[in-house]
């Protein structure tokens, strides 16, 4: 009790200048970007949405008047158990002119049998199989080769869609002919499983539902998620489909950006996906994701930063923002910690708990933004009980994993050793510097 009183007395007596000095990292980097800025942009989005209601309605009419064929491709390996859910949700879509293609990338379980039975039952239109595993990109490309739709919707085999999801992901193409790809809003299906999945659910809501909406509004949206995104078919053909991952979703988005097309995020088109349920699996997944940032943004597509014929400021800003808020801030954060430890070693007991409260406050605020935007706020509100844990989850765990991943990739090119891709393809990608 006495400690608590001391704690409050301490902060009561500290002046504003000292508070800023203690928490410069939070005030200048976190609060501005993730709270104040986000709220401003969300407000702008909501106002625009109101204003554009008529346009949206017209675009929807245009979509239905044309009713183009849409190919949904779902590549995966050993995903048999998830296919029925996916096929069911696709057959429930309000938009009907769909061609559903499941691609099996060399599964060694019952997946081929399950997919064949779905085909027989008429729940899917095509089942393609690589007898020999070639990696996710090759499976997606195989699907693309056989897809006949004007638009291609890429979904992960362990995902499923809201019944109006496809309709909603298509409308942006009819709102603006310059749109080349649309990212869907990916949410966590298995959030009730344990704390780890619940925390990821909050993270997805923050980073996908809100952060991507903001980046999309600013024209710097970076990743059409692999779990759920739609593309113009002609554009995919133009860029040659998917390249080797991991992180092929980010990679193809960059390729489309380079083709001078707009990429937008559609928060109302909702896809549910399964996320890792153990810390080990989650760490593995995140190491893969974060390594790909170095591999693709710093290495493969570094030309984005260079002045050349294809140079565009929006691409430059998109990359720069991404690198700044991930790589640079990771390093700055270490600087901050060292700064506090070096200058205020005796005040650690006051500064660290206060940091926690500030971040918690910021997260609660952001969660509030999520609920404003969400179509399921009554359901998602229940996640708020996990909010106190989100600070160590994002602030410590993810930051730690991210830092490790960057170092691994920068110094050891670990992404090429990841067995997520077959060795034969990784070897070739490394040899060709891709």
């Amino acid at each position: 009790m006495e400690t608590l009183v001391n704690f409050f007395l301490f902060w009561k007596t500290v002046g504003l200048d000292r508070i800023v000095r203690f928490f410069w990292y939070f005030f200048f980097l976190e609060l501005t970007r993730y709270v104040l800025f986000d709220f401003a942009v969300i407000t702008w989005y909501l106002l625009q949405k109101r204003r554009n209601r008529e346009k949206y309605f017209q675009a929807r009419q245009k979509l239905y008047a044309e009713s183009p064929k849409v190919s949904v491709i779902a590549p995966g390996k050993n995903e048999g158990e998830n296919l029925y859910k996916l096929a069911r949700s696709l057959n429930e879509q309000t938009y009907r002119n769909l061609e559903i293609i499941i691609i099996d990338d060399g599964s060694d379980d019952q997946t081929p049998l399950i997919a064949q039975s779905l085909l027989k039952a008429g729940l899917i239109d095509r089942f393609l199989r690589n007898e020999v595993r070639g990696g996710k990109a090759s499976a997606a490309n195989l699907g693309l080769r056989f897809a006949t739709g004007k638009f291609i919707v890429h979904v992960d085999a362990d995902s499923s869609l809201d019944r109006d999801a496809i309709e909603r992901i298509l409308i942006p193409f009819y709102l603006d002919p310059c749109v080349g790809a649309v990212g869907g809003n990916v949410k966590v299906r298995n959030w009730r499983t344990n704390v780890i999945t619940a925390l990821q659910a909050i993270e997805y809501l923050k980073t996908i539902s809100v952060a991507r909406l903001v980046s999309s509004m600013l024209g710097i949206y970076r990743v059409v998620p692999g779990a759920y995104g739609a593309f113009r078919r002609d554009l995919l053909d133009q860029v040659g489909g998917w390249d080797i991952g991991p992180g092929l979703d980010g990679d193809i988005t960059i390729k489309i950006r380079k083709a001078h097309c707009k990429i937008v995020f559609e928060p109302t088109s909702v896809c549910y996906t399964r996320v890792p349920e153990s810390l080990r699996a989650l760490t593995r997944q995140r190491l893969r994701w974060y390594r790909s940032l170095v591999r693709f943004r710093i290495r493969k597509h570094r030309d984005i930063f260079l002045p050349h014929a294809n140079f565009r400021w929006s691409n430059w800003i998109s990359f720069a923002e991404n690198l700044f808020y991930n790589v640079v801030l990771d390093i700055t954060w270490l600087v901050y910690i060292v700064d506090i430890l070096a200058h205020f070693p005796t005040l650690i007991g006051y500064i660290l708990p206060m940091n926690y409260f500030l971040y918690l406050f910021s997260n609660v605020f952001q969660f509030f933004a999520v609920l404003i935007l969400s179509e399921r706020r009554h359901e998602e509100w229940k996640l708020s009980v996990y909010l106190p844990l989100i600070v160590p989850y994002i602030g410590l765990y993810l930051r730690f994993v991210r830092t490790i991943a960057y170092l691994q990739e920068i110094f050891f090119r670990s992404s090429y050793k990841d067995l997520w891709n077959p060795r034969k393809t990784s070897a070739q990608a490394k040899a060709h510097g891709l």
């Binding site: 060399g106 690589n130 070639g134 990696g135 090759s138 490309n141 056989f146 390249d243 034969k424 393809t425």
Partner: protein, 466 residues
């Protein structure tokens, strides 16, 4: 031993051994049966195969067992006679060597004499008994013969003589029936398929397009280029003799290092459909119909030995029973059932709790069984299922005869038993109505309470009287 030599035209006196008497049969379709009867053994002239096969057919399909089972040898030993027909002879011999076959002939004759006269109404059962008798008198194993001149491919010569060419497939129903009744014991020889439309085994199996069923397909490898993850049919990569990736324009040099062939692609030349899993369909050479393999009739060719039950049936016939068709476990024989009934009467006397005795008769089930062909297994399994579902572990089930089931329901009032019986009869009516329009099942049921003062006999008498 008296031996008759059956020949289309008499040859001059003196060319036969003394113990042989030639009989001239100019027209094989007009057999002088009465004139042939006095012989113990017949020897058939095989030098005129067409004539000989006609005589053989007419003898082996004759109604009288004394005729169709009579020992019959062929002459000459090295005659060029089709295998199919040769299996219907008891052997081929030279006339001079005939005495050596006497023992064999006598054994057959001896067994023929032991057979009891039988009157069997149903054609299938008649044929089955004829087969059993043929096998029994000769201690023979029934072997399936591969015969390209028969539509079913595999055939059983003795059986197939009894059927018209369009009905030859029914020989498999006869041996199935024999095996199910425990009269024959089969051993697997081969599995084969018949056209579901015309029962022909002459089918052309080939990969076809799932969309339009055409067999005109182009098969091509899919190529996966590792570096850029491009996957496409080989033709997309081919430029002259070289493989060049259409996406990244690199040359593919080494399989396993910079590319592989993960699967194949079929293109239908008729409709242009591209697919990976062609469907195997069979075109019937006989009727031209095309069917998916899973829709063909699958049959097993077996070789059969006659069982001891089969030998009894050969001697004195047999009757089909509901029990052997329905495969219901825990069925007791009639004598045991009567013992159960006696105990039950005693128990009711002491406990005063009601029990019920009931019966169920499917009067014309044999007719149904013989008329429904290939669907019979499913139909009878369904009936058995309903009967099983409507008896409890404590109920006792038995057969009075081949078409009557007896039920003893301990601690069950009559109403309860009637409900179970009603369910069974309703189901059979429904099943038959749905599947066989021209068949009217004749079903009878009755249930009576166990009377503590009655006897076993009085109960059974009352059960069937009311």
């Amino acid at each position: 031993m008296k031996v008759f030599y059956l020949t289309p035209q008499r040859t001059p006196e003196g060319t036969y051994p003394q113990f042989i008497e030639p009989v001239e049969i100019p027209d094989p379709d007009r057999l002088p049966i009465e004139a042939l009867r006095p012989a113990d053994v017949w020897v058939l002239d095989l030098t005129h195969p067409a004539w000989a096969t006609s005589v053989l057919r007419n003898l082996r399909t004759f109604t009288d067992p004394e005729v169709y089972l009579r020992p019959l040898f062929g002459f000459p030993k090295d005659a060029d006679f089709p295998d199919f027909w040769a299996t219907l002879l008891d052997g081929s011999t030279d006339l001079g060597a005939l005495p050596a076959l006497t023992a064999q002939a006598e054994k057959i004759m001896d067994r023929i004499r032991r057979l009891e006269p039988l009157q069997e109404e149903h054609f299938e059962i008649q044929v089955l008994i004829r087969l059993l008798r043929y096998l029994y008198t000769r201690d023979q194993r029934l072997q399936p013969i591969r015969d390209p001149s028969r539509s079913t491919g595999y055939t059983y010569p003795f059986l197939v003589l009894h059927f018209q060419p369009t009905d030859e497939h029914r020989i498999f129903d006869i041996v199935d029936l024999g095996e199910r009744e425990g009269l024959l014991q089969g051993r697997f020889v081969d599995r084969f398929h018949l056209c579901p439309d015309c029962y022909s085994a002459f089918l052309n199996f080939r990969e076809t397009c799932p969309a339009c069923s055409s067999a005109d397909l182009k098969r091509e490898d899919l190529v996966h280029h590792f570096v850029c993850a491009h996957v496409a049919p080989e033709s997309d990569f081919l430029q002259g003799d070289e493989l060049i990736c259409p996406k990244c324009h690199r040359q593919l040099r080494h399989i396993g290092v910079d590319y592989d062939r993960p699967s194949v692609l079929y293109t239908c030349r008729t409709c242009g459909h591209e697919f990976q899993n062609p469907m195997v369909r069979a075109r019937c050479f006989q009727c031209g119909a095309q069917h998916l393999v899973e829709n063909l009739i699958e049959k097993v060719a077996k070789e059969y030995d006659i069982t001891s039950k089969g030998r009894n049936a050969a001697l004195s016939g047999f009757t089909l029973t509901l029990g052997s068709l329905f495969h219901i476990e825990g069925v007791v024989d009639y004598a045991t059932f009567k013992t159960f009934l006696r105990h039950e009467i005693e128990r009711v006397r002491r406990s005063q709790r009601p029990s019920t005795l009931a019966y169920f008769e499917f009067t014309n089930f044999e007719e149904l069984y013989l008329s429904i062909g290939d669907r019979r297994t499913r139909v009878f399994e369904e009936i058995a299922r309903v009967i099983r579902e409507n008896i409890r572990g404590s109920d006792v089930l038995s057969y009075l005869n081949e078409r009557t089931l007896l039920f003893l329901y301990p601690e069950t009032p009559v109403e309860g038993a009637q409900v179970a019986l009603q369910r069974i009869t309703q189901f059979i009516h429904q099943l038959v109505r749905d599947n066989f329009q021209n068949f009217q099942p004749l079903l009878k049921t009755n249930a009576i309470p166990i009377d503590p003062q009655g006897t076993v006999e009085s109960h059974l008498e009352q059960l069937f009287k009311t």
